[in-house]
Structure formats: C-alpha cells, structure tokens
C-alpha cells in the first residue's frame, strides 16, 4: 500500500496563496514537515500561513539542493554563500521561516549570517546598519557602562 517515499509529493501553500509541489524527500528536510508527514497529516495541501511565496520558494530551493546527490561539496558551499546574499527584509523572513519549518542547517547559517553583520562593530554602527533606535537616556547609557565596565576589561 505504501508507495516508496521517493515518489510521494507534498503540496504546500504559502501565505499569499501560492502552491508548491515538492518530493517528500525534499520536504522532510524540514523537521516540522517531516513530523506532519509521519503523523499522516500531509495528504492534502499543507497551509503555511506565516511563510510567503518568495521565501517558501527559497527554502524549498535550499532543501532541493541538499537532497540532490549530483551536487558536489564545493558547489554546495558556493550555493550556500550566494544564497545568503539577501537584503535584510528577506533575511529575516528566511530566518522566521527556517525557524518555523526547522530546516536543518539553514537556520544556523542564517543566524550566523546576521551575527556576522553584528560582530566586531560598535553599537553606533550596528544601530545604523539595522535602523535600531537608541532609546536610552544619556544617564541610562552611562549607568549601563559603569555597571558592566568590569565585563569588558
């Protein structure tokens, strides 16, 4: 009765009503989807209301690439590096999607990418890059500085 896994198709619908069909082997790169498949909930189209079409396409592209046995290690590395060359809005969308879908490796890569944008920079510069508003009073800033001076020694 059970068809072999490699033939089964999983249907996904993004928040903006785009449908994607992928092989089960690709879909189960996502732990969340894997659990659904294992629980037998994956027979109809699975709605993903918190992932839009553009992001979902990216995630599925990642999953496909990682399942493809013809891809070499080097090609994969290059793919991953290029993959993350995104603007901030897309990057965070990807982060939320990778978190929700629990895709092995992808979430860590995106977290690392964001961390790399923060690493080694002074707070003023970080605020500028990410548009973070400094809502401290000068007194508060001084208080934090004094309180934590020892930790930076």
């Amino acid at each position: 009765m059970s068809s072999s896994k490699s033939n089964k198709i999983v249907k996904l619908e993004s928040s903006d009503n785009k449908t994607f069909e992928v092989e089960e082997a690709v879909a189960v790169q996502s732990e969340t989807l894997k659990n659904m498949v294992d629980d037998g909930c994956a027979n109809d189209t699975i709605p993903l209301p918190n992932v839009n079409g553009k992001i979902l396409e990216m995630v599925l592209g990642w999953c496909k690439k990682h399942v493809d046995e013809t891809v070499t290690g080097d090609e994969l590395n290059k793919y991953e590096a290029d993959f993350l060359d995104l603007d901030q809005a897309d990057l965070y969308g990807l982060l939320m999607a990778a978190n929700f879908l629990n895709v092995k490796g992808l979430l860590d890569r995106v977290l690392q990418r964001v961390a790399d944008m923060i690493k080694g920079k002074k707070p003023e510069e970080i605020r500028r890059i990410f548009n973070i508003k400094n809502d401290f009073t000068p007194e508060e800033e001084e208080e934090i500085r004094l309180e934590n001076a020892w930790a930076f020694d």
Partner: protein, 452 residues
C-alpha cells in the same frame, strides 16, 4: 511580506524600520549565541529592548551560609555557548535586607557584589582567603563554568566567611580583584598555584596585607600603603603601587619594603608615587646604585604632588635607574601624600645608561607653566633621540613640545598656551608647548593602569 517599488513611500518606510528588533526574543538570543563574547555583551547598548534580553535575574532567598551553594548551582547551569539561555545574574537575598548580586560575563568572569542594601558603619575584620583548593574538605561542586577571573566587591565582616567558603572551589582562578571592602583591615591571601594577577582597590581600612603566592605576575593596588608582606618571592611584570593616599601605618621603615622592592625589580610596567620612591626605595638602593636597576621597565607612571616650585630630582634620579624606559607619564596630583624630603640624591652617581629608548613623555596636571617647560627640557637631554613630549592640564587639551629657533623676532606670547623657556646665550633654539589638535589616544598612548 509585500514588495514595494523603491520610489514609493512604503518602500522608504520599510527600509527605515528596525526589522531586526522585531524578531522574537528567542531568535535574538540565538543570534547573540553566534557572537563572540566580546561582541555579544555589547549588544546590551543597542536599545532598551536588547538590554532587556541581558537583564533577567535569577532571584533566590536564603541564609548567608547557604550563599555558596546558591552561587555554585547558578554557575553550573550557565551555558557559556548560549549566554542568554539562562540568566547571567543571580540576586540572592539573605539576612534582614542584604543582597548579593552575582553576574557572569564572557571569558570566564564572575562578579560578586555585596554593595546593595544598608551599609552600616563597617565593622573591622580580618580576612584569610585560602585559594588553595587542596585544602577544601567538603566535596567541590560540579561546576562546569570555570571561573578564571573573580571580582569581589564590598565584602564585609558579615559576608567574608561565606566568600571564603566558595572561592577555593574555583580551581582555575587566575585573576582576583578585591574592591571597596569597607572594614577590611588585615588580608591574608594563601597560595593558589594558578593565580597570576591580584588587584586590590580602595579598601580604605586595609593596614596589613600578607601574600603567599608564588606565580603572581601582576599586582595592582590602590589605597593607603599597608604593611605589605610578600612571604614568598615572585617576579611581577606589571605593578601598580598607587599609594598616593599615604601610609596606613606609622613607623614603617624602608627595610620593611625590601621584599616588595624585589618583586618589582623586573617589572615592565610600573606605577609609583614619588613619596614611595623617596621614603621606601631610595634609602635601600642608595648603597647599591651602580648595581640596582629596573632594567626591564618600559612604561612608568609617576605620581607626584605639587609643592611650590617643582623639584624634579627624585624623578630624574629614578629615571637613571631605568635604561629601557620607553614611555613616561607624570601626573601631578595635589592631593597626593607628600613627606618632607630628606633624601639627598648624590650627584656622584654612578654608572647610568642613557635613556636611549624613551619615545613618549606625558605631563599631566602641572599648573605652573615654567615648571612644566623646565621639566620637559630635562627629558630632551636624557637620551640621544628627543622623545615626543605632550602636556595637558585638564586631560583634554593637549600641547606638544616643539623647538623654536631663536632667530625669530621677539614676539609677544600670543596666548596662555605658549610660554617660552628662558634661553641661554649659546643656544640657538628654545622650547615651547603648542596646542595639538587630535584625539588624545591617537596622539599619545595611555598607560595601562590609568582608568578610562
């Protein structure tokens, strides 16, 4: 997420939005986990949202005797690789209304602060701090967080025993800092084979300090000069002896200081007060002048007080003992202890080397400009190469010493910033200070012992 073309208002609005801070706490904490510890804590300055991530405290209540266990437990649960997973702060309430605040930071640091809560007039106490864990009889806690640097602040007569019971568990302790412990009058630190650096700051009743350490390399002390006894010899590379508040005991003799003098003999970085040199060092070494040198000393911070007419003899005599000196910082602190100088510096010294390596001199706090120039001129003669000489009175405006040829037509001093040194007939130039524009830290390095 809708896509807006770049020429629309929505696009501009979206692109000035702080999207990062809108991510859920859990994700921000995971991003921080990917940062190296130096960068991680800096995110606390970004905004109140980010500060909130760092400021969860674990709150516990108990007796002071149980504090050691509470701290152990707190340390065991801390995950260095994911520093926001567990609170990095422990607030432990004990006694009537006393609190200790224990905070963990990257690079294996633990800060334990007893200063919140009522501080009554501190009861005087003696403290034996045994760092040697081999003497610990009860089983050590299975702490997975290895404390390498420990700050102990405001420990008092009520809390020192509890602290003494937990410190030996830190088997990897390398750096110990004891800060503002009121009432502490006698401190004895027993050997830890790993302790490399010891700092004692502003323990204002401390009069007796007995150290039994072998491997100490760095010793920073600020406060009254105590009766200091290093029982075993160690060689310091870095010594700050900020005794500008004067001696805490009367009747000290310079020979009492000899064991300490031997520990600083090979120092590369040193902070010393003039009175300490005059009263404690010079009498001992004046016999051995030709043989006693601070031959590794590269960076010196000299703390002086100002009396009428600056007398540079002590400083110049000291400099003659420092052949390798590269950087000299002289601070005039009018509140610094001063004793009537009975030292005479015999001019018949001695084999001393030129200060061939002196590159930078910084003078701070001179109020009398003539004294400043005349001291600065001394430095130009000490070595083959004239060092960069910077002066400042307020720490912000910098002046640099320059040579000016004497052929210039006599000019009025244009401002208070320029004073011309008295010149002698056979010199073709004179010295003066001119203002320097620039970041103070770029123009002139800072001595390691000076605070931010």
């Amino acid at each position: 997420m809708k896509f807006f073309p770049p020429w629309t208002l929505e696009f501009m609005k979206e692109n000035t939005l702080d999207l990062l801070s809108n991510l859920p706490d859990e994700i921000l904490c995971r991003i921080i986990a990917f940062l190296p510890s130096e960068s991680a804590l800096e995110t606390i300055f970004l905004s109140t949202r980010w500060r909130g991530l760092w400021n969860t405290s674990l709150v516990r209540h108990g007796t002071i005797e149980a504090a050691a266990n509470a701290i152990s437990g707190f340390l065991t649960h801390f995950d260095e690789l994911d520093p926001l997973r567990q609170p990095r702060k422990l607030q432990y309430h004990f006694g009537k209304d006393s609190t200790l605040l224990a905070t963990i930071a990257g690079n294996n640091k633990l800060h334990v602060d007893f200063s919140s809560g009522k501080q009554e007039f501190p009861k005087l106490f003696d403290w034996l701090l045994e760092l040697n864990h081999q003497k610990v009889t009860h089983q050590p806690s299975p702490s997975t967080f290895f404390v390498k640097t420990l700050y102990l602040k405001s420990v008092s007569s009520l809390t020192n025993e509890a602290v003494s019971s937990i410190v030996p568990h830190f088997q990897f302790l390398e750096n110990l800092k004891i800060i503002e412990c009121n009432g502490l009058q006698a401190l004895e630190i027993d050997n830890s084979p790993k302790l490399k650096s010891l700092t004692i700051i502003d323990c204002l009743q401390l009069k007796y300090f007995h150290i039994r350490c072998l491997k100490l390399r760095s010793f920073w002390y600020r406060g009254l000069f105590p009766w200091l006894w290093p029982e075993y010899h160690f060689n310091l590379t870095d010594a700050m002896l900020d005794f500008r508040q004067g001696p805490g005991n009367i009747g000290f003799k310079s020979c009492d200081f000899d064991p300490t003098l031997l520990t600083i003999k090979n120092a590369e970085i040193l902070t010393l007060c003039k009175w300490t040199f005059e009263a404690l060092i010079w009498p001992s070494i004046s016999y051995f002048q030709s043989n006693f040198q601070f031959y590794k000393l590269k960076k010196l911070w000299w703390i002086d007080n100002s009396t009428e007419g600056y007398n540079s003899e002590a400083l110049i005599s000291f400099l003659k003992l420092c052949p390798a000196l590269e950087q000299l910082f002289v601070t005039i602190d009018p509140k610094s202890y001063c004793m009537p100088s009975t030292a005479t510096y015999s001019k018949k010294v001695t084999r001393h080397s030129e200060l061939g390596h002196l590159k930078v001199v910084k003078l701070e706090g001179f109020t009398n400009k003539e004294d400043e120039i005349s001291l600065a001129e001394n430095f130009t003669k000490l070595g083959a190469v004239e060092p960069l000489i910077i002066a400042t009175t307020d720490g912000i405006c910098l002046r640099s010493l320059v040579k000016a040829p004497l052929y210039q037509p006599k000019q009025q001093c244009r401002s208070n910033l320029e004073r011309v040194a008295p010149w002698s007939h056979d010199r073709k130039y004179t010295y003066k200070f001119v203002e320097v524009i620039g970041d103070i830290n770029e123009v002139c390095p800072k001595h390691a012992h000076m605070g931010p």
